[in-house]
Symmetry: none
Subunit: 225 residues, 2 copies
Amino acid sequence: MKILVADDDLDLLGLVAYSLSQAGYLVVKASDGPGALAMFDAEAPNLVILDINMPGTSGFEVCTAIRARGDVPVMMLTARGEEQDLVRALELGADDYLTKPFSPKTLLARVKALLRRASADRAQAPVAAGRVSLDLENHHVRIAGGEPIALTKLELRLLQMLLAQAGRAVNSDRLLVQVWGHRGSGDRQLLKQLVHRLRHKIEANPAVPQLLQTAPPSGYKLVVD
Amino acid sequence: MKILVADDDLDLLGLVAYSLSQAGYLVVKASDGPGALAMFDAEAPNLVILDINMPGTSGFEVCTAIRARGDVPVMMLTARGEEQDLVRALELGADDYLTKPFSPKTLLARVKALLRRASADRAQAPVAAGRVSLDLENHHVRIAGGEPIALTKLELRLLQMLLAQAGRAVNSDRLLVQVWGHRGSGDRQLLKQLVHRLRHKIEANPAVPQLLQTAPPSGYKLVVD
DNA sequence: CCCACTGGTTACAATGAGGTCACAATCGGT
DNA sequence: ACCGATTGTGACCTCATTGTAACCAGTGGG
């Protein structure tokens, strides 16, 4: 993880850089606005910490420029009681701020939180096979790049099971156990219903299923190519 | 709120203690390092004010010891012009400092700010994402540059939690624990109400939420883009 | 041809979760 | 102790989800 710190107060800059590097982060420093932007372009950091009050190009301008380049999280440093600076910074797209003076512990906590959120935003790893991709977190399927379709809990589970064996037939009894637990074992009606409902959501023509096909004897398969 | 004050100058100690108790804080006193630590363990204060120059165990050592015990905010008192002391204090994890002499008014302002900040820090969440920016100190939200909206304690906490996972669904149970502690665990009604009240504050049309959306099954998410 | 079997379809009941309202309890500041 | 703001609690409505039953069509074997 690489962090860019920009501050014209060299003591503070050193302190911040020290704390961060002690915590295992790679730190690049800049002491004015233009320098910060140059560093940003050269080093492509994962996070930027900006002092608002810098001679020449202010933190605001740097923040705006960085926002224009991508979605790297930005934390602003502000002197106590500069309320309006704060508001402006947040409006410019800063993600967090710290009021000076602050403890290294606070700094680290906020940095960690910010990085965590940023990585969480990108993660969103869908489970996919062929033209079917499942978003487990948001309970969505997307078919061949179409609109996301909302799924219920059971529908999601069923699709997940079929997707894991994409293209191959899965036995009905196995599905019953996997989706409902041992409870519905033997109750074909439950599965019948669920398949029916799911087809109505994901098939263009539910009467002639292209995706969720019946696989005799007694099973279903997901056709994904 | 309980505050531990440690200073070997008994006049100053008395003055500080008096000012704080006048302001409604509960004050416990100590006049040397070991005494301060003993008091700290016995009283579990919410904030510690430490003189750096104390005979025997110095303020630095006490600060280190307190830091090792938890995350109680520490304010250091220092004589004018002891800049290097200051840097060292901040490195040891002190959260703020005051240069002697100081007025009771200044003291109170800083103490208040510190306590407020400390409570905000515990959540360790960033404060802005997309068009939603939180002002933790003043309990305000601002939506897309609009007027600041006043929030209650719980509303702020909820928003903070959602903001930390901006754009992603957050499970109801997790929210319950984060906002109320383990107490309300399982009590969906609390969350239901809080969401309802918050929506009435921040949504243009609370019946069709654009920001604070329900994420079935059993969760909410903050849409920020 | 009849019948048992399987899967699809329709209809409806049961359940549970969220939204809303009203009001009680509690908190915080004067 | 008092007052208003905040928070907690219960009741009720609505709707989505899920479970259950009944009926239909196709199939294959006796």
